[in-house]
């Protein structure tokens, strides 16, 4: 069953072979919009977290700035000047955010929320709640760049899991995803994962079938993550470097 190119929680993910970053410069407005949506999905949490931690923006201000940043990026082609030979796209984007926030702070620009564009439907309340929980006890000067990367990885996995779920549910693969969800996604921090035998008893499956289902789901998820990574990278070299960082292996 082809899973590539499915929908992610209602969001379409553009072609996985072409770089999303290239697509933001496409002549076709629909292609540009889809690419832009993919970038927002991958990076909005990182941007919001960065604004909260590095720029010490209050939640409401960070939300406004994040919305404004993406709106202007789309309208004014912030990413057109990206050169894959000079830096990873993630680094470039973070630099763009820093410049944008610095300008906003200096008051050199009067921010009109969204520049007239409709605000993006992003769950900032949940992001703020998770950020508060994740940074509880952390020093205020915690490495905001590391948080930026961490949130990016989290978004990458979340979107890939959502795509896997959408592609599996209601199909013969549903049981595979459900077993995967019970074993790999469900346990709360500090609680043990169910054993393969317990899962087998729960779903009426032999243990070997449980491991088969898990192997399938993990393999598909790995492929989806790599597809997203490839699409979100500015170059093949960047993709390989990101994949090596993420999975510790070189992509052949």
């Amino acid at each position: 069953m082809p899973l590539t190119g499915g929908r992610t929680g209602g969001r379409a993910f553009p072609t996985t072979r072409r770089s999303v970053i290239d697509a933001t410069r496409d002549e076709n407005a629909d292609v540009r919009r889809a690419a832009f949506d993919a970038l927002v999905a991958a990076y909005w949490r990182s941007v919001y977290t960065h604004l909260r931690l590095k720029w010490r923006a209050q939640p409401a201000d960070a939300e406004d700035l994040a919305q404004e940043f993406f709106a202007r990026a789309m309208a004014r082609g912030f990413f057109d000047g990206y050169d894959p030979a000079r830096a990873r796209f993630r680094t470039f984007l973070r630099t763009c955010v820093d410049r944008f926030a610095a300008n906003a702070r200096r008051g050199e620009r009067r921010l009109k929320r969204g520049g007239g564009a409709a605000p993006l439907a992003l769950d900032f309340v949940a992001a703020e709640r998770e950020l508060a929980a994740a940074t509880a006890g952390a020093a205020p000067e915690a490495d905001s760049d590391a948080w930026f990367d961490r949130e990016w990885v989290r978004s990458l996995f979340a979107e890939a899991v959502a795509e896997l779920r959408a592609a599996s549910m209601g199909t013969p693969h549903e049981i595979r995803f459900v077993v995967f969800e019970r074993h790999d996604l469900a346990p709360a921090a500090g609680t043990p994962r169910p054993s393969y035998r317990a899962l087998g008893d729960e779903f009426g499956l032999p243990v070997t079938q449980v491991t088969n289902h898990l192997a399938w789901a993990r393999r598909e998820l790995r492929r989806l993550v790599l597809d997203r990574l490839r699409a979100l990278s500015g170059s093949d070299a960047e993709f390989r470097a990101e994949a090596e960082d993420l999975f510790g292996v070189r992509i052949p």
Partner: protein
């Protein structure tokens, strides 16, 4: 949707696990890490059992490392011995990395075992290691990375020598008394087309400081033979007997055994692992060891300790007899 941190961390870990082609093996958590590869616990779904899969680490996965791991699998496959983990399968991952499948062994590393065991138990484990290494030498294989961390002591007393990643197939050693024979007949195919040995380049140093023989540390592969492993065995013996202590209570004959084994000059060491094992056995049996010339007083003391019960019985008998004679006389 969002994912909690612990779920992301778990997914990253499971997706980092190599993905063997086909449906047979499913990898789980890492159970060991060496200089070249990572060992994972895995499910062999065809046979319904747990196995261990060693995969090249991503950061060292180059052509030379692949050759080395293949060699390791082939070497292990030809060394069928209870002290050597059997290899079941070998293959290549989708990303091109070589892996091999072996029996999953559970137990303690030697240094951990030694902390909770008596000296004689530790010495018997070292004896088993000597036997295993001697077997490998008899098949023309030198381990070259012997250290406590590469020795596993299983729950049922089994002793396994692990990590043959830098092992080397050697011919007849340079010294006439070296006991390493040419490779066994099963290696005839390899002899015809020997696998490239990335470790043979002069100047290349592979091994572990503290357990590596001087000729190995100097990067002189031409001088590596069975006595190189004898050095490693001696270093192991010293490490597990002395442990965290200052070693003052170690009997001199025992210290002499490892001192001879770790001689800087290969010719001054035991010529083979079997000779080293013989001396350890003699020590355990309370006999004089070849590595140590005993002074008369020490010899008398050793004999007394060895025959303590009999000597005390005879002396008691003589004392009673004398007392009896004296009493009768008066």
């Amino acid at each position: 949707m969002t994912l909690p941190e612990n779920v992301v961390a778990h997914l990253q870990e499971v997706l980092r696990a190599p993905d063997p082609p086909g449906e047979r093996y499913m990898l789980h958590e890492p159970v060991g890490q060496g200089g070249m590869g990572t060992v994972y616990r895995a499910s062999d779904r065809a046979l319904g059992r747990d196995v261990a899969v060693k995969v090249l680490r991503g950061d060292v996965a180059d052509a030379e490392a692949a050759v080395r791991l293949e060699r390791e699998a082939r070497i292990l496959a030809r060394l069928e011995h209870p002290g050597i983990v059997p290899v079941h399968d070998v293959g290549t991952l989708r990303d091109g990395r070589v892996y091999y499948v072996m029996k999953l062994v559970r137990g303690q590393r030697l240094q951990d075992f030694a902390r909770g065991a008596g000296r004689s138990d530790v010495l018997r484990v070292v004896l088993r290691v000597c036997e295993t290494v001697g077997f490998a030498h008899a098949h023309g294989v030198v381990h070259r990375d012997l250290k406590p961390a590469n020795i596993m002591v299983g729950a049922f007393g089994e002793v396994l020598v692990l990590d043959w990643g830098i092992a080397r197939v050697v011919g007849v050693g340079p010294a006439p008394d070296c006991t390493v024979p040419p490779p066994s007949p099963v290696s005839s195919q390899e002899a015809a087309a020997p696998p490239r040995d990335p470790e043979t380049a002069p100047g290349t140093v592979l091994g572990t400081p503290g357990f590596m023989a001087p000729e190995q540390a100097r990067g002189q592969p031409g001088l590596v033979d069975a006595r190189t492993d004898v050095y490693g065995l001696g270093a192991i013996l010293r490490a597990v007997v002395v442990g965290d202590t200052d070693g003052r209570d170690v009997p001199r004959p025992l210290a002499a055994i490892w001192t001879r084994a770790v001689s800087p000059e290969p010719g001054a060491r035991y010529p083979s692992a079997a000779d080293l094992a013989s001396d350890i056995t003699r020590f355990l049996d309370g006999q004089p060891v070849t590595a140590y010339r005993e002074p008369f007083t020490e010899r008398a003391g050793r004999l007394f300790r060895k025959y303590q019960t009999a000597i005390i019985l005879v002396l008691t008998y003589l004392a009673v007899r004398l007392l009896f004679l004296v009493m009768r006389g008066f």
